[in-house]
Symmetry: C2
Subunit: 174 residues, 2 copies
DNA sequence: GATTTTAAGTTGCAACCTAAAACTTAAAAA
DNA sequence: TTTTTAAGTTTTAGGTTGCAACTTAAAATC
């Protein structure tokens, strides 16, 4: 049945201790983020995605299947109409919101001519949300200059004393 | 010369006022984020990317060209060795770091068996950075339940008084 | 100075994936 | 009972990816 198999070499085979290749396994596909965005905007059904995205039927079918297999969406037969199937975000899917907003904000900031309307806001006071940023454990905002890589083992060991050098590597290329 | 043309329909034609499709135009390509990550890790040269990523030569060549065209990397001939070319992150490229870390953290959290080592930390105190999250303008952390869409026009108009309903749309599907 | 090696690409080709349109199946509406 | 709707498959053409071999220019080595 499933004629569209995934024979591409998985990205994550190559990079051991990093979540990024794993994340890209499903979300790095063309259309994945657009489908996710449509889900966040309240679309549930196959034909709705079809109309909204202008994607081909077979590709949509394939991508939805992959998102379901990846645990990002869940399929649920519709109670009142047994032809219909609802695609809904799982907790795992909902948890992609910060990444998606970060990408969206980046696109707004750097790609020309995007007035960005409507705007994502806090429901409490209706003010636009802050830019997604990197924060230290105590809330200070950090830039790429403030970051370094440290080895998991040194983390546990050093809690406050110990020599300061250990396996600290400055984030290069910046 | 450039035999690999981009004939795919651009994603952003379909979705007017949103930065996401624009962002995905370049970063939605397979390998784009992996190349970006390699750049953040201090790789500059073609052959370095080749060894690190296990990508095909021609694909790497094509992706680097697109990233340069997209203003995310810049090409710079190497001063001391005129065979070499350095690919370096632009400001626009550096600004993708929050989105990339958000994706990486998501991958770590949800994809099984990723011990995630080394860990990204604050250089000042060597403590791991916080999870990337959505924040209100005043710093409160927000979840998808706290969000809504508001129309740009109402934003300007309503500053504190005016009727509260206007064009506020709850983020659905959640 | 001639030959080899390195760096960064191109080119050719087979396998793979995508897109558009037509077809299928089951359930609901008319 | 026939038509319409929802959600897929199948077919087929054409675009994309990946591997290996080739190219070009500059540096290193003999």
């Amino acid at each position: 049945m499933d004629i569209m198999k995934k024979l591409r070499e998985p990205l994550h085979e190559l990079a051991e201790n990093c979540g990024l290749p794993l994340a890209l396994e499903t979300m790095g596909e063309r259309w994945s983020f657009m489908i996710l965005r449509a889900s966040f905007n309240g679309l549930y059904h196959f034909e709705e995605f079809l109309d909204e995205l202008g994607i081909a039927r077979n590709i949509l079918s394939n991508r939805l299947t992959r998102l379901v297999e990846g645990g990002i969406l869940k399929r649920a037969p519709c109670a009142d109409d047994r032809r219909k199937i609802e695609y809904r975000l799982t907790e795992k899917g909902l948890d992609l919101l910060p990444a998606m907003i970060a990408l969206r904000q980046w696109g707004e900031r750097w790609e020309t001519g995007v007035p960005s309307n409507p705007v994502l806001a806090d429901e409490r006071d209706h003010k636009p949300i802050a830019q997604i940023a990197i924060h230290a454990h105590d809330g200070r905002e950090l830039t790429h200059n403030d970051l370094c890589w440290i080895d998991e083992n040194d983390l546990r060991a050093s809690q406050s004393n110990s020599r300061d050098d250990a396996n600290v590597k400055k984030l290069a290329g910046i």
